[in-house]
Amino acid sequence: MNENPMLPYLGKLVEVRNLAADIKLFRVEMSNGGGEAFRTFQPGQFAFVSAFGLGEAPFGIANASGRGPAVDFAVARLGSVTTGLHELGEGDIVGVRGPLGNWFPMKKFKGKNLVVLGGGIGGAPLRPVIQHVLDHRSDYGTLTILWAARRPDLLVFTDEYDEWRAASDTNLHLTVDNPDEKWDQNVGMITQLLEKVSPSSENTVSITCGPPIMIHFVTKMLQDKMGFAPINNYVTLEARMHCGMGKCGRCNLGEKLICVDGPVFNMEEVGGLLETFL
């Protein structure tokens, strides 16, 4: 690591493509020591990406380490940094600081069924989990993916759904709040879809990421209606972090810091604290 842990590595954008409306996928090839730092990373970890001159923001790493040397980030154009990133193209240089935070205990999940629930861009940090399971398919039981967005054009990784569906013992369920005329999948909130799919909690862990309010209702439903134990009910949280190393004080959830104690938690760890996150 650099002496100054706030100094980013430099990385080259080797691929920039539209993922959904105002959401782009950035594939970064690391240089300047960053290659070593990002040689391996775990599903659920995050990193800061700099649009130099505008600042940096934290993003969940969107690919599994085993899928090649590059690092993927899904970026929704929302603020100044993300708008700056959207203006960049292939060959441009970004800063990357990481990998940071904890990760989904994929080893502990071995032999279990997984229910993965992603809402909007919240699906991005779950893609490495899906990729990891598909790449180690026999290590895990049934993979059930519940994927939601407000509109069809906000669904992320649509071009990978065929790969997910084609994998053995893997189910993908899609839903949107506001369908267009071409939409032929479920309509409604992810909680409605969850109720319909009603996964068994037997030997199963759930992993949820999305807007805070979705995390709140989905984790509650998994526990109250489907009998998931809090310890098997996993979430990955985001906050407006600035350092990602437990220093800047911005991302506390009670006495926990999302950046170093998380971003991955189970509900036994944060169930009582989630209210302060809403």
Binding site: A76, P212, G246
Partner: protein
């Protein structure tokens, strides 16, 4: 490492000797001491001891002789550059600058030295080490000045400190008959004491007057008060102005941002921030956790007495040094001692 009081060497020096010593330090290193700046007292560089604000007012005894901002700003400045960014076409060049000058701070109050110690737990003792803080801390010697008595808003004795606590200093000065008793607390401090020229003494410092002690709820009692209506009630007064955090010796929230220096040239800076701010937690897309003023005010108190001690292993100690600055600076009368005493009241 600070030496036990019994093993510390002491010297008795006059006002003249003190000034000569400080002048010598100012010649060789950067000397920072309380200075009068636009009618307020701040820790600022001085080139001669005559510029030190409280020289005329010594002996120092009341809180009004405590600088408005704590020594925190010397180690963790309100704004600092982390690196510069040069953009040439698609090329990016980053350049770092680290602070590395030798500094001596004179006139540090025990509450402020304790504040630095508490910040060490975060910036030095918890990985990764903050390279900027670590360099400043390593290159700085703290010369303390005991408060003879406590000021009207001081409550260091209620949170584990004392007006004459030398623990977190490198050198401690106590007022004494005919001048000052100088105590070498650490090796680092001993290093800048011109021992040979001074009169060594076995006299012990006279204890300061302790006052205003009250019980502060211990860490374990905080969780049960989280949903007290009191937080929403007391926050009616709060203006979310964040002044309390800026004057606090231990509030350390910061933000990182890029600023333009010239076309194609930028700097990434770190600047103070505070959890009382309405947009402090706003995330992309506009969602704002802790939208209520009461939630934010509560967070500040929980951070001081529960979260920070839990996060950075302070044991039973809190992250409050009892300096009383937040009480003085609050334009709306939010008084930390009132809050603490209220929590101690039986429900």
């Amino acid at each position: 490492m600070s030496k036990p009081a019994a093993e510390r060497k002491r010297w008795l020096i006059s006002q003249v000797e003190l000034e000569a010593w400080l002048d010598g330090i100012a010649n060789a290193r950067k000397l920072i001491a309380p200075r009068q700046v636009s009618d307020i007292m701040l820790y600022r560089p001085v080139t001669k001891s005559v510029e030190i604000a409280w020289r005329e007012q010594m002996p120092v005894s009341t809180h009004t002789n405590r600088p408005v901002l704590s020594v925190k700003e010397i180690f963790f400045p309100p704004t600092e550059r982390l690196f510069t960014i040069q953009k040439t076409g698609q090329e990016i060049h980053l350049e770092e600058t680290f602070p590395d000058w030798e500094t001596v701070v004179f006139g540090v109050r025990p509450c402020d030295a304790r504040g630095v110690k508490l910040l060490d737990a975060l910036f030095l003792d918890t990985n990764p080490v903050d390279s900027f803080y670590a360099r400043r801390r390593g290159n700085t010697t703290l010369i303390g000045l005991a408060c003879k008595e406590m000021g009207s808003t001081c409550f260091c004795t209620s949170v584990g400190g004392a007006p004459d606590d030398a623990h977190d200093m490198d050198i401690m000065l106590y007022e004494a008959d005919g001048g000052y008793l100088v105590e070498a607390v650490t090796e680092k401090g001993r290093f800048i004491i011109p021992g040979g020229e001074w009169k060594e003494t076995s006299t012990k410092p006279q204890q300061s007057t302790y006052s205003g002690q009250f019980p502060v709820p211990e860490k374990g009692k905080w969780p049960e008060h989280f949903n007290d209506e009191y937080w929403m009630k007391i926050s009616e007064r709060c203006l979310s102005c964040r002044a309390c955090a800026y004057v606090c010796p231990t509030c350390r929230c910061f933000a990182l941002r890029d600023e333009m220096l010239a076309p194609g040239e930028f700097e990434r800076i770190r600047c103070w921030d505070a959890c009382a701010g309405e947009n402090y937690r706003r995330v992309a897309g506009g969602h704002k956790p802790r939208a209520e003023k009461g939630e934010r005010l509560r967070n500040r108190f929980y951070c001081k007495f529960y979260y920070y001690p839990e996060q950075y292993g302070l044991g039973a100690a809190s992250a409050c040094t009892g300096c009383g600055r937040c009480i003085e600076v609050c334009p709306a009368g939010v008084d930390i001692t009132e809050v603490l005493m209220n929590l101690e009241k039986p429900a």
